[in-house]
Symmetry: C2
Subunit: 339 residues, 2 copies
Amino acid sequence: MHTKILLTLALAASSVLASDLAMDAKNAGLKPIPSSTSELLKLIDNPKNPITPKKAELGKKLYFDPRLSKSGFISCNSCHNLSEGGDDGISAAIGHRWTANPHHLNSPTVYNSVFFSSQFWDGRDPHLEAQAQGPIQAAPEMAATPDHVLSVVTSIPQYVDEFKGAYGDDVKITFEKVADTIATFERTLVTPSAFDDFLNGNDNALNKTQKDGLKTFIDKGCTTCHNGVALGGEMNAFNITGIYKFQNVGDFKGDKNGMVKVPTLRNITQTAPYFHNGQIWELKDAIKEMGRIQLGTDISDKEAASIEEFLKALEGRKQDIVIPQLPVSTSKTPRPNIN
Amino acid sequence: MHTKILLTLALAASSVLASDLAMDAKNAGLKPIPSSTSELLKLIDNPKNPITPKKAELGKKLYFDPRLSKSGFISCNSCHNLSEGGDDGISAAIGHRWTANPHHLNSPTVYNSVFFSSQFWDGRDPHLEAQAQGPIQAAPEMAATPDHVLSVVTSIPQYVDEFKGAYGDDVKITFEKVADTIATFERTLVTPSAFDDFLNGNDNALNKTQKDGLKTFIDKGCTTCHNGVALGGEMNAFNITGIYKFQNVGDFKGDKNGMVKVPTLRNITQTAPYFHNGQIWELKDAIKEMGRIQLGTDISDKEAASIEEFLKALEGRKQDIVIPQLPVSTSKTPRPNIN
């Protein structure tokens, strides 16, 4: 009986400790993906481009459609591959004509990008709607003109019908609307994880090792930059020039202040290689490097391993995404041009 | 009453006619995808590499995994895109380093390829298991060595576990076994259509226009080459050299007799451009061209349009394929090499 009481007390204490840790995490600026759908919708929706099932479904088709690219070979999913943690696993992105990104920039994940306050490594756009227009047009990515995209979409009756279904019969299909529709799909790509369950009140969602890791993560100051729902996604008060391993490989200049966006840590175990330059392949090395150059502190192998255990708890539950069957081209559809 | 009897007789006659047409189609060598699962399984299974759900599921992951390629950017699905009728919609396939197929060969569809008696345009392999080894290694496609593929797979614990689950704990993972597993997935990619429903006894599965088209298709002799379950997939008794529009663009020589494989007509409306050389974009033009150079007969615009209506009835019902979540690389996984 005595043992039983002790055990009960111990469990209660453990529970209190866990709650304290969740409170510490929140105080450090970490936020969960809400477990309630209505709360989540408030967070991911764009009043100027509201999410609807028809728009998201059409956006999925466009996201997977290589015909939006000049070559007909590259879709959004080529570099932001939903099977591979939402990116491509390559150091610098490649695209049209096998061109490596001239700034030697790594493809960021699309999963949870809806939670970023800044899109692109230089943070030049706040919204996914604007972001989606970029890679489609970029010469080393999909290399398409807005006219090409518009010609493809409007030449395919099923796409026209689906735009009408999504926006109303009087819809004016524009390049911007195509991008908006892709963004709507992307807004739905959120991946709640064990960490969210923990912050949302389930003390047992993280195991002891992961809780220790979270504590180390907070204690070391990682939350200075990796905070919010995305654990990142904002511009970083850090100048990227001239720092070993983190310095630019290409001619990337960061934003006007020479700053680079903090990447999300969600699904980070699935999105190597790391940093805007894709120069680090091992998560442990990335953790230690960040400590050294960002926090000016030494992160020991043991601490890095502990943090890595926490980061595993950020592996999110992916929705089941059925591959779309794309509507067929017509004689009016621009032919692919691989040159 | 008299009218009613006439109507009944007319309906009966129509039904008999439809049945006659189905019989004509069968007599011309056309065969349906069986509606019974056990009959279908007999047709698609390989006794030397039996289909099991675990193998097919693992095969799906491998099919979608770009890490099997040298660059880490190209998967089987890049050129045999299950969203695009099972091919890429490009005239000549492109692959590693954006190299166009040196023989200027068009990517054939993977859907229903299990029904082909010959794989590749020169028909050099009878089975998908052998076929799957080709594009992975081909320099202008995935450009990987068998060692690379084996290193990728064996460096990823989840893949090793899934091979054990699929083949038993004593499995010896080899490059050939990886290809066998991909082939198992491909064997499941069959797409029954309205035409199959018709041949399987549902007289109303084809509308009047489609039935007329089928009749034209048979009358014109298209079934000479386009027969069997795949409506193609066998070597063609036709020499490809020197024929306008159908002649080689690259240095493709066909098989040892200069013959080229007859492509399947299933989902043909979704797999433009046409012919081994990808030189014709409009189905109507392809139909007329085939009449001229293969059958030595003129197919009128009206007849071509009628045949095209029948071909639409070969658009198959695609399974819902949920995109796989690929297991994560480890420090032992070979890094992508885009050069």
